[in-house]
């Protein structure tokens, strides 16, 4: 074992690249990484500082043209596993970020510009961002805070968390819960296959909101004085509301009701799970103790549809480790 370690140590001599490049306002930052983290911090200077840790078999290419500062590693020789580069980059706050990786966690802190992140295996965390914000992963979680603009977040095998975000939002995962809190938006479209969906944010007049899952609860905060037409669909679950609602239209597995003028459209759907309406700040209220109202207003959570033979409860396969 010691021999192996010694040999590896001679093969992978650690090296650092540390340099700074002046940039003009409007320049975009493009970073591509096969393996290793991409961390982007921000500052007020019109310059980009690049700190990269890598093996001596990698070279860091930094190219500045009129549109973008492009950073990527190139392997002089050796297999892909030697191509790991860990970047810590400090960029101007105004600088649009375009970051992509394969086996890369990506972290952005303090941006005030559009942010695009794409990785295959890795988590994405972003605090800040303005304008178009697109965060995507395949195997990894997505976290976005304090952003403003048009937000698109996609992953396949993990959860999505958005906090204090304003603007139009589209989010999708296959396996993972989706939590949105402190949201200010008139257009939200969220879906997952296996996971809970939680939303605590504005329901604006004329807005469109859609939350759906196959396995999991849908828990939505409805602010006081909301004007919304709410459509509820569930095949194998219950509906509960912590405030009275009056159902206007009932169909099999689906019913709808209006709050206030009904201006906003809210669609809530889960195949296997409950749909719960709460007041803001009380998303995790206990159905038995906070005075839930069903569609009849009799404080008994009820199934919104006639009894239906239930399929076998879902048992999602376990991800092999």
């Amino acid at each position: 074992m010691l021999t192996t370690v010694a040999v590896l140590a001679t093969l992978f001599v650690s090296q650092q690249t540390d340099t700074q490049v002046a940039v003009r306002p409007g320049t975009r930052l493009d970073v591509t990484n096969v393996g290793g983290a991409i961390i982007v911090r921000t500052w007020t200077q019109n310059a980009v500082r690049v700190h990269a840790e890598h093996s001596d078999r990698m070279a860091i290419q930094i190219v500045l043209d009129a549109a973008a500062l492009t950073i990527k590693g190139s392997s002089r020789r050796g297999p892909p596993q030697e191509q790991e580069v860990n970047y810590t980059i400090t960029a101007p706050r105004w600088m649009a970020l375009n970051l992509s990786g394969v086996h890369s966690d990506v972290e952005v802190e303090g941006s005030e510009a559009p942010v695009t992140v794409e990785t295959v295996n890795g988590d994405v965390k972003c605090r800040g961002g303005t304008g178009y914000i697109s965060l995507q992963s395949v195997s990894g979680s997505i976290g976005l805070q304090q952003a403003k603009g048009r937000v698109e977040v996609h992953t396949v095998s993990d959860g999505i968390t958005l906090t204090d975000v304003s603007g139009d939002i589209t989010g999708e995962t296959v396996s993972g819960e989706v939590r949105l809190e402190g949201i200010e938006s008139g257009n939200v479209d969220i879906s997952t296959v296996s996971g809970e969906v939680v939303y605590d944010g504005t329901i604006r007049d004329g807005g469109h909101y859609r939350f759906s899952t196959h396995n999991g609860d849908v828990i939505i905060a409805i602010p006081d004085k909301t004007n919304a037409t709410i459509s509820v669909s569930t095949f194998n679950g219950d509906f509960a509301s912590s405030f009275p609602v009056s159902v206007t239209e009932t169909k099999r597995h689906r019913f709808s009701f209006t709050i206030g003028s009904g201006s906003a459209r809210v669609e809530l759907a889960t195949f296997n799970g409950d749909i719960k309406l709460r007041r803001p700040g009380h998303l995790h209220g206990d159905d038995d103790h906070d005075g839930d109202h069903d569609q009849d207003g009799d404080h008994e959570p009820t199934r919104p549809t006639p009894p239906t033979p239930r399929p076998t409860p879902p048992t999602p396969p376990t991800l092999p480790r």
């Binding site: 992509s100 295959v120 995507q136 996609h154 396949v156 296959v174 479209d189 999602p316």
Partner: protein
Amino acid sequence: MKDQWTERLSDYLDEEMATPEREALEAHLAACVECSTTLLELRRVVGRARALDDQPPATDLWPTIARRIGVETGRRRPVRRFTVSVPQLLAASIAVIIASGGTVWLAMSRRAGPLGQQPAATSTAAVARVSWTSDTRYDAAIVQLQSALEDGRKSGRLDSTTVRVVEHSLAIIDTAIAQARRALVLDPGSSYLNRHLAETMQRKIQLLRGAAALATART
């Protein structure tokens, strides 16, 4: 394939249908996977269109024109509507499917970078775009995409972690599809179940398409 309701989906989305007609269409949607799937895509197109900035022109020519033709200039700019014909919406919905595959891979395969750009992925993606509309074509697309995924696995272009994640996610989606299909046997008239099944099948296509693109793109 079009039917008598296809042309009315836009009106339905715009809530411009009388109640009896709307109910008739909803009954049709419950039984027609093609229409319910089309409606779903149209809804997404309209949702995205609504999200676009409706910015005023840099120079408003109307006041000058109005003065010349003697028309009052106090009018407001018309509110943007998003009603379009069904053919336009169908075309747009395909564009949306292409643009919003729901996976990172397709986007990544379009870009230069570690995953590169591989036109080979386009053929499988093109098949996938429209193939959930009928079971036969859907199944064919699934087979083709799974074959591409398998090729990626065998060739090593897809690493084991990614393959595991994709297979795990496919298993979850397959479970959901099976449950939705069983539910539809019990309640074939449910518009919710029809729509849910169509969405879930579409999601499987998107996932496989992304994986296939990644399998052909990775170097």
